[in-house]
Symmetry: C2
Subunit: 164 residues, 2 copies
DNA sequence: CTTGGAATGTCAACAAGGCTGACGTACTGT
DNA sequence: ACAGTACGTCAGCCTTGTTGACATTCCAAG
């Protein structure tokens, strides 16, 4: 716990932080660019991608659960879900224990789209990971996790646990 | 250049990549959360933040230049600039050599807002950096840079060079 | 010198996707 | 019986992206 100074703190200078901020901005654009192109052709948007992604991760999730993960209002999510259900990509089943709940599942068609989007996004991620190497990836993940809001970190970690 | 396999490639599995994707999603939300709160009270949006940020980085930049950095249409940018100019945060000077161009500068008031937003965002960034440590930060930056589109990487690197 | 095209920036109108508020329906648990 | 919960929906607003049309300015070819 000795007081570090000078060179040791180079990575905490305002200039270094500014570069980090800009890197985050440009990288996020790259991160979403490939799925966005695919979605455009289907006249879907990023919102549809997010819904499909998290339904795929947690099949049978309820609307309320999805809401808290995505951090949007139910009206906003509902608009997206409505089109996905109408287009046969998502199935909404009434809960067996609690009939108020709707459990969400991807149909075969939905899984196909999810895979297509996921493949595109993973390809870029894989290329970046490969280029940077395993140590860099570990650091990348550490910084990202430290950057999340506390409640989002809970959601993030919950998704990493084995499915029930 | 030996063929790596098994444990060596753990960080390139689909599951690892999926976690990286989700980390990116949640982290970006945290990344923008603090400035968003400030902007909300002034009834500005994220677009205003981006404009102010990059005008501050490159004072005297033209609209066209800003366009290619931000990656939006000139009409979209113009709407944001119009309100910023009307509110006296940005000054638009007709070019001396080429009168078609407008050179953009922050006023004192604009600089004050930029500083306020920047401070909030840097505070989170600094906390995350400190928590993760210098090695992690280096890795973080490497992966982000590898994740950008090639043309955005050019913009990003141009911004890191000494100002002319 | 004129004139046509390229570059630059502005105005108008539209769409996606956030948001709030209000309300209806179906179900649960006390 | 009834308060509270989960979900869906309608209406309306805002931000921020898009295209299309247009004005101004510059430059280069004739």
């Amino acid at each position: 716990m000795a007081e570090p100074s000078g060179e040791q703190l180079l990575y905490l200078t305002d200039e270094q932080l500014r570069q980090g901020i800009e890197a985050m901005f440009f990288a996020y654009r790259g991160f979403t660019a490939d799925p966005d192109r695919i979605l455009d052709e289907l006249s879907y948007g990023r919102a549809h991608h997010r819904a499909v992604h998290f339904i795929n991760c947690a099949p049978g999730t309820t609307v309320n659960n999805l809401l808290s993960i995505l951090g949007v209002t139910k009206q906003s999510l509902n608009r997206v879900l409505r089109t996905l259900i109408a287009d046969g990509l998502v199935e909404s089943r009434v809960g067996r224990l609690d009939k108020r709940e709707r459990h969400l599942y991807l149909t075969e068609e939905g899984k196909a789209l999810e895979a297509q989007l996921s493949d595109a996004q993973r390809a870029r991620m894989r290329a970046a990971y490969r280029k940077a190497g395993p140590e860099a990836v570990a650091g990348f993940r550490q910084v990202l996790e430290a950057m999340m809001d506390a409640d989002m970190r809970r959601n993030y970690r919950a998704l990493r646990e084995p499915r029930t």
